[in-house]
Amino acid sequence: MNLFEPFTIPYMQRALVEVLVLGALAGAVGVLVVLRRLAFVGDALTHTVFPGVVIAHLLGRSLLLGALAFGVLTAVLLTGLGSHRRVGEDAALAILLTSFFSFGVVLISRTRGFTADLTAFLFGRVLAVDRTDLLQTLAVAAVAAIVLAVLHKELVLRAFDPEATAAMGYRTRALDLVLNLLIALVVVAAVEAVGTVLVIALIVVPAAAARLLADRVAAMTALACLLGAAGGWLGLAVSYEVSVDHDIRLAAGATIVVVLVGLFLLAAALVPLRRRRGRVAGASG
């Protein structure tokens, strides 16, 4: 199977750049999501961005702006809701995410041919990415990367020890809001490429795999970015080969996710071997 040949075609080149950037960004943000066990919040955000995309589409505006508006809104709402004592976080998140999603579905169901649009928003059309989309993705990714770099040590501290973070004088709610906004930015950037449903995989899976293999946050982040980008590249190559050479149409976004999960399972299989080797070395040393 050829990993380079498909990318001589312009639309494949754009798709490649898109998934490389997205994979790396999602991997870096995903490290914090996985360390703080926030996968559910990330999932909620991906569902709540959906009505923003629908509204933008119906108004004929940029999908990215619609997703951004709703992403910010729900990041704020989620941070605020996290502290209402009676209801419990999981239930509130589930209700929030499904009601926002339903709102989007209701809006779009009034149009004709709504199933095709719904599918595109949910699963993306990475091969239809054009130059403007790519530039927008790069812009969003740049903003997110800068925020992440600037606030990294505080975000890691908050993930490790929220009590000490507050005791040292940091506002943990504000830090939580920043992370939620970062997740929202990743979702927004990924909306056109892999769609809102599959972006959670880009965020969680490379970071979860990196966690199995790394002992330090820095190494984990580097690995997550690498795995995210590699998954994007391999997924695109595989879906192209199978669709073109074997005539089975494989959705590109979904193939990327399946490749990432495969890499995760590989890492999960390798871990006990690492431990055994480490133990033997320690015993003989």
């Binding site: 996985v34 066990r37 559910f40 990330g42 999932d43 502290s83 209402h84 004592r85 009676r86 209801v87 419990g88 976080e89 999981d90 239930a91 998140l93 589930a94 209700i95 929030l96 499904t98 009601s99 999603f101 339903s102 709102f103 579905v105 209701v106 169901s109 009034r110 709504f114 199933t115 095709a116 719904l118 599918t119 949910l122 699963f123 009590e163 507050a166 449903v197 599959l198 959670i200 995989a201 969680v204 899976v205 979860a208 966690r211 199995l212 089975i248 149409r249 494989l250 959705a251 976004g253 979904a254 193939t255 996710v257 399946v258 990432l260 999960v261 995760f264 999960a268 871990v271 431990r275």
Partner: protein, 346 residues
């Protein structure tokens, strides 16, 4: 068009019946989902049964069989992954959910008519419900309710004190699996009505709403089932009037009921007046209103969320103990007869 006339056509009547049954069933199950803090898992289950449903549809076998088989596979995979070092439960669920969902999309994308079928699985299409589906829903619903009623005290006790349940000799793991299967069956039954993505809403919102109004377990279950059924009917009526997706509208109604309750419920709503502390000896000065304690709150909510009135838990414990004592007595014989007092009914 008056609301009654809305339900004039055959398909609308079938849809109504389906909506009521699904709503009521979800409401009954959802209290257990909340007690054990399972909303995320339920969502994962819904997403992960999706490829099973797709496969079943492609192979032409019963959707239930496909969903059940795949759901079982997912539960096993999550358990295996979560048991490994360094893979916490949330990540295990996230990875499995993504992988299974992507698999489902891949399977469907190779077919034609992909987006229409996909949509039906994802957000439901209650208006195309057939009489056969209604019968399935009724049968599954009755079975689920029967199981829940029979195992009520064990499930409640297991939700708040697994150690206590095990100490009494009950098979805790088996009971957990039974509950998970019950939730799975409910999710699959809801798919024709609201689809996989939205099923979790009907399984969570009515109970969350009910908990804002009452602390008593029985009342919560009854109220949740009622709210679920109401959401189904009202949502369906609105969707038929305005010609929008039915499943999504049903979910919006359930969420609206929750939002309204969140604000106005006495004692637990946001607008409820919080009683204030009066420092001893400072009757002359206005007492400062008690503020929120962020970390205390976390500790309190950790202790309380997933629990209803401690009284209900105590009742469940007594009932289970009594049942165990009775079976013990029956096996030991009249020489070991003890006097036991009936616990008070809460």
């Amino acid at each position: 068009m008056s609301p009654l006339e809305t339900f004039g056509d055959g398909f609308a009547r079938r849809a109504l019946l389906e909506a009521v049954m699904v709503g009521g069933l979800c409401g009954a199950v959802c209290v257990h989902v909340l007690l054990r803090r399972l909303p995320f898992f339920t969502m994962a289950l819904g997403h992960a049964t999706f490829p099973g449903v797709v496969l079943a549809g492609l192979l032409g076998i019963s959707l239930f069989a496909g969903a059940a088989a795949f759901g079982a596979v997912v539960v096993v995979v999550v358990a295996l992954l979560g048991a490994r070092e360094r893979v916490d439960d949330t990540s295990a669920v996230g990875v499995t959910l993504s992988g299974a969902f992507a698999l489902g999309v891949l399977l469907l994308s190779a077919q034609a008519g992909f987006s229409r079928d996909l949509t039906a699985y994802l957000v439901g299409s209650i208006v195309t419900v057939q009489p056969g589906d209604l019968v399935t829903t009724a049968v599954v619903g009755a079975a689920v309710l029967a199981v829940l009623a029979a195992l009520h005290k064990e499930l409640v006790l297991g939700a708040f004190d697994r150690g206590g349940l095990a100490a009494l000799g009950y098979p805790v793991l088996a009971l957990d699996v039974v509950l998970l299967l019950v939730i799975e069956a409910t999710v699959v039954t809801s798919i024709p009505a609201v689809g996989t993505i939205l099923a979790v809403a009907l399984i969570v919102a009515p109970a969350a709403t009910a908990r804002l109004w009452t602390e008593r377990l029985r009342a919560t279950m009854a109220l949740a089932a009622t709210l679920g059924a109401i959401s189904g009917v009202v949502g369906l009526a609105i969707s038929l009037q305005w010609r929008v997706a039915a499943g999504a509208t049903i979910v919006l109604v359930a969420a609206a009921l929750f939002a309204v309750s969140l604000v106005v419920a006495p004692r637990h709503g946001l607008l409820a007046r919080r009683p204030a502390y009066v420092a001893p000896g400072s009757a002359s000065t206005r007492p400062r209103p008690a503020a929120r304690l962020p970390y205390e709150e976390r500790a309190v909510s950790k202790a309380h969320s997933g629990r209803l009135a401690p009284a209900a838990m105590a009742w469940a414990l007594c009932q289970c103990r009594l049942a165990k004592i009775c079976s013990l007595m029956a096996s030991i014989g009249p020489t070991a007869l003890m006097r036991t007092r009936m616990p008070r009914r809460w």
